[in-house]
Assembly symmetry: C2
Homo-oligomer: 280 residues x 2
């Protein structure tokens, strides 16, 4: 039977997996150090565990160039203009499918997780940054480049919330206002130290809902999955749902369910595996 | 040879066409009155002109229910909950393909107009309202319902622009701030009476660019087409391009061309014809 490899290439760790799906998935974590050392370790682990490998998928932190498989203008200097897909493919001697981390995650969730059974869905992660991947008509959304949903602009009432936003490129875009670091910068402590009924979460739900309302108006997804560290504040789900309804109500009559991802921390690596299987 | 019918069903007129594409297209315009009278006239014209018809496509004003082919909650009371696809299909005795007006327009432009040759494109119309249709991976974007891109929220500086927005549902959404009626409400005269260097156009370009930046971050289109009455102010194209670049610059490295539609006033009816051809 064909065995596939998947790599979720993150800025702090690489999650590597082999198998054919969630039932036989075996994974390991490798800290992200230099490109050469990290890739060598990932390749060695996959090669050793898998025996015969059919293909490997990579869901990478970015920004990336999907056509070439390079990581491009990342602030992590050693990884800038690095041919990640090429290095992994050369190391393993198998075909590589390469995409963004969030595109891999939405594919994993569509294949095996909380977005099974729908052809149009959206995956958002809200953590150190905010990223999104979408599936439309059963296919991952790609275009001129890849989506950068975290950087959409939303209304920001600077009187109610004087924090200027933390995005180095756009200031108060969605990520600038609602990522984990934005919460910490605004309130002086990481979100995890704030009580569940702190006003921080009302504001957070408001910003996330404004962003999600825009994504609903643009993509009309059948289901929306939100993961990432900030969403460990599980009270946010219901707050975001009711705020999205308030923002769009009476106009968009059917609203998609907003739910947690089904694969937990394995959305990305399973999505990378699903990418590899698409090759075969 | 198979002949197809297309109807661009608008709130003020129905544009009906028969043919196989732009080269042999024959069209007529029918004022939108009651559903029964308008559809009867459209059906009679198409039946008389076409002889044997293979299928008919409809691009309709909305909101619509794509699954049933009904116009739903329109303010035009006589058209509310009207089975437009059913009435046309019954009248002509041929299969019907039904979609929104802007989805038909983007399909027409992708097939024969300014979006030929790309698999991912976006069509926006800026007039009485603002609407958008997108093609992703060669397919029209559909999901839970249809996109309502005109209703995305964008930053609105109420001190620089105290106009509260004209959308009856959302106030200062993109359509509320940047449609033709919003321009007229803000400045006291229709946009057509304002000089090309009036500050109205700086503000208009700013709002359109904020909306388009969000759509680029979400869909990553390879090309963007903007039509509609407001865009007769052709100076807006260059203003919108440079404003989009300013808003996204340094982050999204490749920006899509922003151009005029290639089929002029026939994007919609040709798109409806293309819908009919998809059936065949």
């Amino acid at each position: 039977m064909a065995i596939f490899g998947g790599i979720e290439a993150g800025g702090t760790k690489f999650v590597c997996g082999i198998g054919t799906g969630p039932d036989d998935l075996v994974t390991t974590r490798i800290p992200t150090t230099s490109p050469e050392a990290t890739v060598a370790e990932a390749v060695a682990w996959i090669a050793e565990k898998s025996g015969r490998l059919s293909a490997v998928g990579i869901g990478s932190f970015g920004p990336v160039d999907l056509r070439s498989g390079y990581i491009t203008s990342t602030p992590k200097a050693a990884w800038r203009n690095y041919d990640l897909a090429g290095a992994v493919g050369k190391g393993l001697g198998v075909p590589v499918r390469f995409d963004t981390d969030v595109n891999a995650a939405v594919l994993g969730e569509a294949r095996w997780g909380a977005a099974r059974g729908v052809s149009n869905c959206l995956y958002l992660t809200v953590g150190t940054g905010i990223g999104g991947g979408a599936i439309v008509g059963g296919q991952i959304v790609h275009g001129l480049t890849h989506p950068e949903m975290g950087h959409i602009r939303i209304p920001h009432d600077s009187i109610a919330d004087p924090y200027g936003g933390g995005c180095p490129y756009h200031g108060d875009c969605l990520e600038g206002l609602a990522s984990g670091p934005a919460i910490e910068a605004r309130w002086g402590v990481p979100g995890g130290y704030l009580p569940r009924d702190h006003p921080a979460w009302v504001l957070e739900a408001r910003y996330l809902a404004l962003g999600i309302a825009n994504l609903i108006c643009t993509l009309s997804p059948e289901r929306i999955l939100i993961g990432g560290g900030v969403m460990r504040q599980s009270q946010l789900y219901e707050m975001v749902r009711s705020e999205v309804e308030r923002i769009l109500s009476r106009y968009v009559e059917k609203l998609p369910p907003i739910v947690t991802p089904g694969l937990g921390e394995f959305s990305g690596v399973l999505g990378a595996l699903a990418l590899a299987k698409q090759h075969a």
